[in-house]
Amino acid sequence: MQALFGQLLLGLINGSFYALLSLGLAIIFGLLDIVNFAHGTLYMMGAFAAYLLLSEFQVGFFPALFLAPAAVGLFGIVVERTMLRRLYRLDSLYGLLLTFGLALIIEGLFHHRYGNSGTPYPVPELLRGGLALPFMYLPLYRAFAVVTAALVCFGAWLVIERTRLGSYLRAGTENPRLSQAFGLNVPLMRTLTYGFGSALAAFAGVMAAPIYQVSPAMGSNLVIVVFAVVVIGGMGSIAGSILTGLGLGVVEGLTRYLYPEASSVVVFLVMAGVLLLRPAGLFGRTR
């Protein structure tokens, strides 16, 4: 029983990473109608930014938590203004192709420069050690990761669903022309949204660095699972993707405990099942 609780907690920790990433993806899809295949790469860039900040400039983890997302967010803004902007009036397939191509190029460059073996990133001094819970010994850093991810996810949901800025963003998505007629600067909002989504991915990357090791392939390994999460949760539903991310993390953790060989496939089995029963996803609205 105790072993099970330990695995469930671990699953929750993994799930919080899925939630963070699928949140960014859902926001970008919800507000920009772009399937952002570069999301995993932005996550990887965040982790690498943290690593480079440490190795080249001796900048530690906590400053990196802000600097790396800022840098990657800026990169996202540039990408949106120069490339994505031209695709809005076209089929969303083009956005997918563009971001996919970008992902391959960037990942290839990183692979060329850094090879494929993971580079370790040390857990910050402040967060070393752990809590001795009755059913397991929980490393402090993982507890920090879950709490921080939960806060960020909740904060993002709050901004989008409950604030004025969020309502402008949602209006801009539902009816860009009308919103623009009312004076909302829709292009600017789109740029900021993509920048914010990129920054969110990079933030997840920095948090992941001490746990998963920094490697060019880390993004592509993860992004496919994240897409499955967003599809299951329902494309465009922000609360849906957060809850599904957590839920699937737990499911994956259980599978690792019961039958580890299936742990990499279980998410897709769930996705297949959900799509058969509820094609719009668990929380999705048919657009």
């Binding site: 105790q2 072993a3 330990g6 695995q7 671990l10 920790i13 993994n14 692979h111 090879g115 494929n116 073996s117 993971g118 370790p120 857990v123 752990g130 001795a132 397991m136 010994y137 490393p139 850093y141 993982r142 746990i211 998963y212 090791q213 490697s215 880390m218 390994n221 953790g253 690792r256 405990y257 580890p260 060989e261 742990s263 990499s264």
Partner: protein, 408 residues
């Protein structure tokens, strides 16, 4: 279409080739190809270091053998069996490579062995561990040079059980190497009166987060958690074990540890780990001399000390060249016969002999990782507990059951 006349001209040359190959050096050049993992998670223990070791071996031999030059090629198989066999095929068919060295992983080795046998070229394996290489899947063109899983299981495994580790749980890399190492070690543990409480097999490569498996190992209550994995997997699982407090109540047995792993982990995390190794740079003056040249070589960007895989590549290439010199040809059958006939006695292998099954049986060393206080200078990581003589270190020819070696 206009290529056909050219092909017809080439035919007589193709027919003449086999006759030339029986005597003298084919194409007037001996080509050695190092096929290894250049950028993946075994790249630190083999990779560019293996290429460097081969380079040093060729240079030290004089750059030529039997009056003909020696050329070195290298390629990255990315730990993928299909990439490895395609590169090997291309090397043998198009680039006229005479010997392929290293491979480093068991799955790529098993994939390339049939290709080498089909093309009748020499394969010098340094790094792969599975005993199938000189057992059920043996062939006449493969030398399993540096170590095998049986040596590790019997070296480290037996020592840990003797030290009081009676109940075991395994964290195993789910492919040929890991499974073989787990089985060999489990057999040793049971034979020594211990018991195996369970195991978990994780997907490899591709796993960097070992939390879940460490938790299962803790839940098992075993005294010893055996790590049937290598390279970055071992480093990550040891780190995870420390993070989750596993080492407070249980002990880790790293079944395959390289000095590059100890270097990554640092002594305060790696202290006390047992390892069975074929080579330690600080063992004697000859090893130190080689290691210092390796470390200070301009191609060694990270200034690392050689691992046993890399030192094994140096020794294997040297032995291969000596065999060519003795046989006056690079024809695979003649060279393999000479390699088995000549003993190996250099800084790497003491009392080394390549058997009819292709297994290079030589002395191994049981070492323990020093604590930070015991370490006096950079890379001073191991204390040598004892020398395991060749006959004890490796399985006998009879035990391996290689079909080639069965004499009637």
């Amino acid at each position: 279409m206009h290529r056909r006349p050219m092909a017809i001209l080439a035919l007589p040359l193709l027919l003449a080739e086999p006759a030339l190959a029986a005597e003298g050096i084919s194409d007037g050049v001996v080509r050695i190809g190092v096929l290894t993992d250049m950028t993946g998670y075994y790249s630190d223990l083999a990779g560019p270091g293996s290429v460097l070791a081969a380079r040093m071996a060729i240079d030290d031999f004089g750059g030529k053998v039997a009056g003909k030059p020696v050329e070195l090629l290298s390629a990255d198989h990315q730990l993928k069996a299909d990439v490895a066999s395609n590169v090997a095929r291309k090397w043998f068919d198009e680039d006229k490579v005479d010997a392929v060295v290293d491979l480093v992983s068991s799955s790529t080795a098993l994939a390339v062995m049939p290709v080498a046998a089909e093309k009748k070229r020499v394969l010098l394996l340094s790094g792969p561990g599975t005993t199938a290489i000189t057992g059920a899947q043996c062939n006449a063109y493969t030398v399993h040079y540096t170590y095998d899983n049986w040596a590790l299981a019997n070296g480290t495994g037996r020592e840990v059980v003797k030290d009081g580790g009676k109940s075991w749980f395994f964290i195993t890399a789910d492919y040929a190497f890991g499974k073989s190492l787990e089985e060999d070690t489990a057999a040793v543990v049971r034979a020594a009166g211990g018991q195996v409480l369970g195991s978990v097999r994780y997907p490899s490569p591709g796993t960097t987060d070992f939390s879940s498996y460490v938790l299962q190992a803790q839940a098992s209550g075993a005294q010893i958690v055996g790590l049937a994995n290598a390279g970055a997997d071992t480093v990550n699982s040891i780190k995870a074990a420390h993070e989750y407090g596993l080492t407070k109540k249980q002990r880790l047995a790293g079944l395959l540890i390289f000095i590059s792993d100890v270097h990554s982990l640092g002594l305060d995390v790696a202290r006390g780990l047992y390892a069975t190794t074929a080579f330690y740079w600080d063992r004697d003056e000859a090893s130190r001399a080689f290691a210092r040249r390796f470390q200070s070589h301009p191609d060694n960007a990270k200034k690392t000390m050689p691992t046993m895989v890399q030192a094994g590549v140096y020794s294997a290439v040297t032995h291969y060249l000596k065999a060519i010199a003795a046989a006056h040809t690079d024809d695979a059958d003649a060279v393999m016969a000479k390699m088995r006939e000549m003993p190996v006695d250099d800084f790497f292998a003491k009392n080394g002999r390549i058997g009819p099954d292709g297994l290079h049986r030589h002395d191994m060393y049981l070492v323990q990782v020093k604590s930070p206080e015991e370490s006096k200078y950079p890379w001073d990581y191991y204390k040598i507990l004892r020398t395991i003589p060749a006959a004890e270190a490796f399985p006998s020819v009879e035990a391996q059951k290689c079909p080639l070696a069965v004499r009637r």
